[in-house]
Point group: C2
Chain length 349, copies 2
């Protein structure tokens, strides 16, 4: 397959840390330009240096402000940080209140920071893959931290957040949706919880809600482990199960309160990941998942060539209801398979 750009040259420039090359590479990913697989393959050996942090939560939880504060802390430690904002309500993507936007635009001009918003156009499945790949490019470009900020309601958005090494779930008092949000799947992705805007009423109640939910969840997990071990009745200790208590932190992101403690907790989680071998396991799992996603994308792009050619004719038949979508899809699929037979790609084995 020919590439739409000079893959090796772009890979070299990204590896050299050129921000413009990185931006170009991410645009190529978003648009699924021919050659992106080769680009990512070529940079694969450079991956693993960046720690990936997911920041997720419901709209209005203060994720962007917290992301900006965390990024500032990374810079103060003399490290570099890439930020990916997937949240459509994020100031990075132009959707938030003026105060947030000012704070963000200050960050934009800092050296050592690379900010990129990922727009949700077309399928979110495609966006999820592109987001993970953008994080890879930032990793390959040498950024020490990659922060992925995403809206935490919606399965695909949660999947994006959960692709980080450490995922922080941000909730706020007053919103009344602490439990609702957790039911929506936030609990499953949380390596730690942040109760933001703790100067507002209800912070203690929210923290209690989280603790209760976590206790219930942990109880279930312990029960599963006990059942698995057979006859033993008493609960195993944390050390025995390898489980880690999920910390609950309090912050007021707008004034920076608790942000240092959050950074320390993130460090602590990463240290735990390394010590237990969980980091290697998670990353290996991610590589398997990525392979599956890329394979599906290759297949989809291949059938898309047939779809684009036949779309108008098929649309005409569908408009008059001459054929069902299923019969039409089947015909297009078989045409595609037929074309594969004539293809001259290399045979494996």
């Amino acid at each position: 397959m020919t590439s739409a750009f000079d893959v090796e040259a772009l890979a070299e420039r990204i590896a050299a840390g050129e921000p413009r090359a990185l931006a170009r590479g991410i645009s190529c990913l978003e648009n699924e330009v021919d050659g992106v697989e080769a680009l990512l393959d070529g940079l694969h050996h450079r991956l693993g240096g960046a720690r990936r942090i997911g920041i997720t939560g419901p709209p209005g939880a203060g994720k962007s402000t917290l992301t900006a504060e965390l990024a500032r802390g990374v810079l103060e430690d003399g490290l570099t940080v890439g930020i990916i904002a997937v949240d459509p309500t994020s100031p990075f993507t132009g959707g938030a209140l003026l105060g947030d936007r000012i704070r963000m635009s200050e960050l934009v001009t800092e050296p050592g920071v690379f900010i990129r918003s990922m727009a949700s156009r077309g399928s979110l499945g495609g966006l999820a893959t592109a987001t993970r790949e953008a994080a890879d490019l930032m990793d390959a470009a040498g950024y020490d931290r990659v922060i992925i900020e995403t809206l935490g309601v919606g399965q695909s958005e949660l999947d994006i957040a959960a692709s980080a090494d450490t995922t922080a779930v941000v909730l706020v008092p007053e919103s009344g949706d602490g439990i609702q949000a957790m039911k929506a799947g936030l609990m499953e992705v949380a390596d730690l919880f942040v109760v933001n805007k703790t100067d507002r009423p209800g912070a203690d109640r929210l923290e209690k809600e989280i603790s209760v939910m976590m206790a219930i969840r942990e109880g279930n997990l312990l029960h599963d482990i006990v059942s698995h071990h057979g006859t033993r009745v008493d609960h195993p200790t944390r050390a025995e199960t390898g489980m880690r208590e999920t910390p609950v932190l309090q912050t007021i992101a707008s004034t920076g309160v608790g942000v240092v403690e959050l950074a320390v907790a993130l460090d602590g989680h990463f240290a735990w990941l390394q010590e237990t071998g969980e980091l290697a396991a998670r990353r290996a799992h991610r590589r398997i998942k990525r392979t599956e996603d890329v394979l599906a994308r290759l297949a989809r792009r291949s059938v898309d060539t047939v779809w684009r050619e036949r779309r108008e004719v098929v649309a005409g038949m569908l408009a008059t209801n001459d054929i069902s979508p299923y019969a039409a899809a089947r015909e297009l699929y078989e045409e595609w398979v037929y074309r594969q037979k004539g293809a001259t790609g290399p045979a494996l084995e």
Copy 2:
């Protein structure tokens, strides 16, 4: 392709309105059992009788209660209703407060009601397709209304809601995320807005927020139309643009206040869809989109056969980082292409 069940027999039983056959058919969709395309193709001529209503909004907006009340109204009119709950916080799926659950379980025992929850496992893209197909089966089974209740934060969830003929966006005062939710894409899918729990403070403010947002949006649309027409400076009237004012209704779903008015507004929107030809256009567009989705699914399932066979070997290579996910996916893809060459499917033209 052989089917895992007797397609014609199941199609007949679904067409005859047998609830158990309908339930079985939806399970087949969810599990992507071989033969579902043939089932849906066989029932395609029966589609179009059901009016599809999407109910969406943030967690805690009262979507389930409103859905139950609307369903009850449909029954009182002597009609039948199918309900699909995609919302993970929905009582249909076991996630809500006791009060809601009691109200729902009463509905379950009513004749003329078919309730189905769609669980989000694996990819949400798959869930979105399965949800639309489940609505098709309910349509084919003769239900007069199909109500699709889904969480309205998250792009894929919004796509599901927007696949209805009429989509109602439910918001609540106090939550403080009226504007946030709208930024997250809710405004784009709304055929009408419902301000639920209007007995709480802030209802008027929320209604004003919605009106302002709608006015801004309409202004932009009108501006586009004016620009398109060239030199004209004064704004075209609504009648000229064919635009429809988006109604904003007030309800207290828990006590039934405003539910009749909501049902009337839904009827009004459907009448408008019919009169303007918009219904036919939307449904034709849905058939095109469906064809594209089914084609992509056929391709994905085809490569999945290679993936399942090779997964363990590839995982081993990825674990030791001997190969990048991109190189692995490319090899698997080419193996799949090679197998297609040997396949003996019918050639089209």
